[in-house]
């Protein structure tokens, strides 16, 4: 069936699996050598990819929601993130985490200007824009303009604090709990917490009332 087009359809991204780029060749070569030498098995590689894919922002949201309902946990989370997160069953591995509390006086936002450092154990893989040169170069020098493009307006009497993840620490923003959520369970609260609010480019908005 044909119809006249007066609009652009999104084109599917072409498959790139027939193109052996430099890094694909390198990845295959290193992986094959590691398997041949018995250092890792093919199944261990597969399992690690599976584990990586299984980590999602829902892990971070669970941490945030717990901190909202349990002030003792919140204190422990800020003082010793690795231990506190371990309490709720997440092993964040060798990561050194800093938890940044948003308050009525401070809004925090995270970037890695040098590459794409990101708390993958809690948020999964970073979004493409987080790795883009535009975000990395602009959010340090005009954070308020960048936040505005994400729909986030921070009042002038509230500090915007940018955190550049340049070395060995990783960062999780603890957003403010929105008003009108008093009756919600921890699971319902967690469902409100999106990835972007834990990077700090958005705030958590209250659920729509029906």
């Amino acid at each position: 069936m044909s119809h006249t087009h007066d609009h652009e359809h999104a084109q599917p991204r072409p498959d790139l699996d027939d193109t052996m780029t430099y890094y694909r060749v390198m990845e295959e070569a290193v992986r094959s050598l590691l398997i041949e030498k018995g250092i890792v098995t093919a199944d261990e590689v597969r399992r690690e990819v599976e584990n990586m894919d299984a980590r999602t922002p829902a892990n971070g949201a669970q941490v945030v929601a717990r901190a909202w309902v349990d002030s003792d946990f919140r204190s422990r989370l800020v003082a010793n993130p690795k231990q506190a997160i371990g309490e709720i069953g997440h092993d964040i591995g060798p990561m050194h985490l800093v938890v940044l509390e948003n308050t009525p006086g401070v809004h925090n936002v995270v970037v890695c200007t040098l590459c794409s450092c990101y708390p993958r154990w809690l948020l999964g893989r970073p979004p493409d824009w987080y790795k883009s040169r535009a975000y990395r170069s602009r959010v340090v020098r005009e954070p308020r303009a960048v936040l505005r493009e994400f729909g986030t307006e921070i009042a002038d009497d509230r500090e915007v604090r940018v955190h550049d993840s340049t070395a060995d620490m990783r960062y999780l923003v603890l957003p403010m709990r929105p008003d009108g959520t008093d009756g919600l369970s921890q699971a319902e609260l967690a469902a409100l917490v999106g990835r972007d609010s834990m990077i700090g480019v958005t705030e958590v908005v209250p659920p729509l009332r029906v």
């Binding site: 800093v98 040098l114 020098r141 500090e159 604090r161 940018v162 550049d164 070395a167 060995d168 620490m169």
Partner: protein, 104 residues
Amino acid sequence: MSRFAVGDRVRVHDLWPPTPPAHVRTPHYVRGHVGVVERICGTFGNPEELAFGRRGASYETLYRVRFRQADLWPGYDGPGTDHIEIEIYEFWLSPAGSEPESAG
């Protein structure tokens, strides 16, 4: 034992190291500027050595240093209370005493 304490004013080296290696973790936008130590993160293998797979890389103290945005960017579009915090290794820092926070 770390050289600086939380609250100390520190200046980031500029035009340093003299022969730039291919891998440093101190972005240009803070070089030469004065900030305040926000926290001591601990000691970590020197990434400038580790990046080349060198054996026996030294362990270095890592700090988080807080800078005023208005000091880093001429014409910064935001209130004077906005800040940026960034991780910097000890060998990139020298004591700044009470000198002003503008770039050297």
